[in-house]
Symmetry: C2
Subunit: 535 residues, 2 copies
């Protein structure tokens, strides 16, 4: 049996292919290719900050090139299996063959026919409608997604398309999450591919607790279109230790892959990254990049208000996957770097010299709304404590601290529901690049933080699923034991800073509740209303 | 009788001499000289942001040069009179001749022996002590200064010196406000010069309402030192339509002035500037520079809580002078320009393109504390509403708007006490240089704003007092009628912006009270406490 697996990771800006040795997780070959369209693959609209799309025509050529590079670098001819992870919720309207409508001549350049990228917030009104309707009808559908349905998710986006681009919506045979679209393409099964429990569960209100997707009547009351979309979705979804199918000859040839290779059911990037970082009961994985995703697994997990997703088997089959996160982390640091015109390297160097608390500043990390635990995209940033002597580096540090406090708020909420978090493993760009951020996180969270050994965690996680469906390892946990590890570097909390941050966290919580709970002080919403009226 | 008057204006960074024609206010010659010491005259302490001093040895050589330039440019040999204005409260410990202790060899370089510049906040604890004691003893002394004694003022600074530099305090024969020190020097009368009602009233709790300075027992209960200082202060003060004295021969020779020229009692720069800008009942003058000073005159003026000073005759003898202000305005704009690394010109150009309210931002203008109406130096800045798309120019505009809202808060408070404000006249650096700021002010204050004709208003105001003591005009109002005027340019409120700003002002007031009234949300104080503990 071949000992190698391929993981394919479709990110926001590029696709990464990674060939690994299933015996020990050694990374044998990598290929990374940036998407051709938009700004590094992201198509935006200067008149609508909420819009973010990808051109589905970018996926296949980028993937082909990345796979060729990885296979050639690894110098392997055989693969035990292939796994795929993508961003999500990134739903795509497709025809009955599974071809994205955006690739039809008819809809070329029509952004509604493109992939609705995870960070697209166009559908905020639709998300509010879905949340309100579920509450009004006292339906359970929000119990597994923290009590609020997001503007970033499947049904919100499809509904926004139905309302604003009915031509596209009506032409779609069905909508597929990006990870299902890719496995459908790789296996030649198109819309008939086994769809991802992870994507459907975390983004589509799919749960065994109520027998799958929300019921037809509920969706029909919101919009007739959603009910017809439901009719085009399969009733059953699969965890990623199942095969989606195998690579047929013609696809194998075009992608320089061994024909007949098993392909695992698709998954989401954060979940795959967590698997590769050794997620386990009591050990949370934080993927810290432009935004942050927290992944945990457990047993007997109750509903947790304000935590974005609780889905059986979404990370490790047999355990309940818990997903939470912050809608902007590295994005906030990059924003500040742009605003103050200093590089993050320069800012970090100065910010490292500061002691916890000495700037007198406190920020809220809501420049892109709050995903958890408030689940409110219409919140905005706050900075308090400025004097005439406040420096750019002090503000930079306050913004890092703010994201750490936001992370602390999530951990606190999960622990309040009986799920213990003893250890933290970090991965992602910020975790690898910013020792300043990681030390602040260790101090604020008052826990040691280790780093995932792989710097390509999502692709490695996908490869791990590939190794499982290829039969090299009997299950995900055995594969993790063989194929994952930590680096030697560990960030340990420093007692004095941790003490100061405990005091600052109390003030953060005060501000969090004052601005985040609308009845107390809806200042941010009032400002957004003035902004809308001023136009 | 000579028809010319000289105004000498001692600012934060430089001294300005101005020779004017008393018939029409024409400005015939000007000299401006920057002080030699520190950073453009301001001596600071890198370890103590609160400290700001001037070297009293700088005053005489700078004044000599400025007068020579102005007299020579004006080409006049005779003067009807001289007026002097200075920053304040800028008290100076002096010996019995009126020579500043900082000019003694013994105290050379000892900053406590220097001039305690208006913006020095070292004495915040002493100010709190004085305020608390007046409240505890139910004494009336705060009734004319808004209910809170400031860390910027005479008694606070003297007390801080007594506590932290007793060698200087004990060596001082008396303390003189800078304007009295200068008139003492010019007249050769030293400590025997007639002291300023304006300075004593606005900064030293001097009022006819309680027979002069606070009583000896009250001061003694705070500190024995203050009681002995009281013993060295004259019981009576004078308005600036009185002569302080005349220039003796030896001083006249050294300063190239006509000997025997009458010198008016000293005054403060803002009050002089208001006179030159046509201040009158119903017409408020705003001097908008690094900080802002609002000056108004009226009759039957009640005590106004939160308004910094109400002093009989301090601006126009016979009318009650009202002073209020904001502790940082241009300073905040300059701070932001430094932080974001863009020039104010560039920021203004971009900010001008924005509509009121469209950024979704709101700021509090408290980076240097709040002078009025909260009178709390330990408040700090706030910015709310940031997204990942917020630009430096949007923040710049939000900061300008914040200072306008702060200005609006002061006007509202004064009007609530029955003093009407129909018109606004602006002068000062920001008023002259930033049309963006002035238009925002017109829109936020919803009143037309005119500009003072003179761009050297404080010096012209001083010259007006000089013209009065020289007998050219019978009183200040007649002199104003002859010697002052407005520019043609007028900023008129634009209805749509004014409407938007009314909505934003409601949110500003909400934030103002939430952060400014300690019992509601003492977030800024809590952060300052953490900052102190972190050191």
């Amino acid at each position: 049996m071949p000992q190698f697996a391929l993981g394919i990771d479709f990110g926001t800006n590029s696709v990464r292919a990674l060939v690994v040795d299933c015996a020990d997780g050694r990374e044998l070959g990598t290929g990374v290719v940036t998407y051709a369209s938009g700004d590094e693959g992201v198509i935006s609209d200067p008149h609508d900050n909420n819009l973010a799309r990808q051109n589905p025509a970018d996926y296949e050529p980028a993937m082909r090139e990345a796979i060729a590079e990885a296979m050639s670098a690894a110098n392997v001819n055989e693969l035990a299996g292939i796994g795929v992870d993508t961003t999500g919720s990134t739903p795509i309207p497709v025809d009955q063959n599974g071809t994205p409508l955006g690739m039809h001549q008819e809809f070329k350049g029509h952004l509604a026919a493109y992939a609705w990228l995870w960070k697209d917030h166009s559908a905020f009104a639709e998300a509010e409608r879905i949340t309100a309707h579920a509450r009004e009808k006292e339906m359970p559908y929000l119990a597994k997604c923290g009590g609020v349905y997001s503007s970033e998710w499947f049904w919100s986006k499809a509904l926004h398309c139905a309302r604003t681009a009915p031509d596209v919506f009506n032409a779609a045979h069905t909508w597929m999450e990006c990870c299902d679209f890719v496995t459908g393409f790789l296996t030649g099964l198109g819309t008939n591919v086994r769809r991802s429990t992870c994507a459907a569960g975390h983004k589509g209100m799919y749960s065994d607790a109520w027998g799958g997707y929300p019921d037809r009547k509920f969706l029909e009351e919101i919009s007739n279109g959603l009910a017809t979309l439901l009719d085009r979705l399969p009733a059953k979804t699969y965890t990623s230790d199942h095969r989606a199918g195998t690579v047929p000859v013609e696809i194998a040839r075009s992608l320089s892959l061994p024909a007949g290779t098993p392909v695992a059911v698709g998954t989401l990037d954060a979940h795959a990254g967590a698997v590769a970082s050794g997620v386990a009961p009591g050990r949370m994985v934080k993927i810290i990049g432009t935004s942050t995703c927290d992944i945990l697994v457990g047993t007997n997990v109750p509903d947790i208000p304000g935590v974005a997703g609780i889905v059986e088997g979404s990370v490790i089959p047999g355990l309940t996957g818990i997903e939470a996160g912050q809608s902007a982390v590295g994005d906030i640091f990059a924003w500040w770097s742009r605003v103050c015109g200093r590089s993050q390297g320069e800012l970090s160097k100065d910010a490292e010299k500061l002691r916890a608390g000495e700037s007198g500043l406190l920020a809220l990390d809501w420049n892109n709304g709050n995903r958890n635990v408030l689940a409110d995209p219409l919140l905005t940033g706050l900075l308090v404590g400025q004097t005439l002597h406040t420096t750019p580096a002090e503000i930079y540090r306050a913004l890092i601290e703010a994201t750490a406090f936001g992370a602390s708020k999530i951990i606190k909420r999960i622990e309040e529901h009986g799920i213990e978090i003893r250890e933290i493993v970090a991965c992602g760009g910020i975790a690898e690049k910013s020792s300043l951020t990681m030390q602040i996180y260790a101090d604020v969270l008052n826990r040691p933080i280790r780093l995932s050994r792989s710097s390509q965690a999502p692709a490695l996680g996908a490869a791990i699923y590939g190794a499982v469906v290829g039969g090299v390892h009997k299950d995900v946990q055995s594969a993790q034991a063989a194929m994952t590890g930590f680096r030697d570097l560990e960030y340990r909390p420093e007692a004095h800073s941790a003490g100061t941050y405990q005091k600052l966290f109390e003030i953060y919580e005060h501000q969090h509740d004052a601005y985040g709970v609308p009845d107390l002080m809806p200042v941010m919403k009032r400002l957004l209303r003035v902004r809308t009226l001023s136009r």
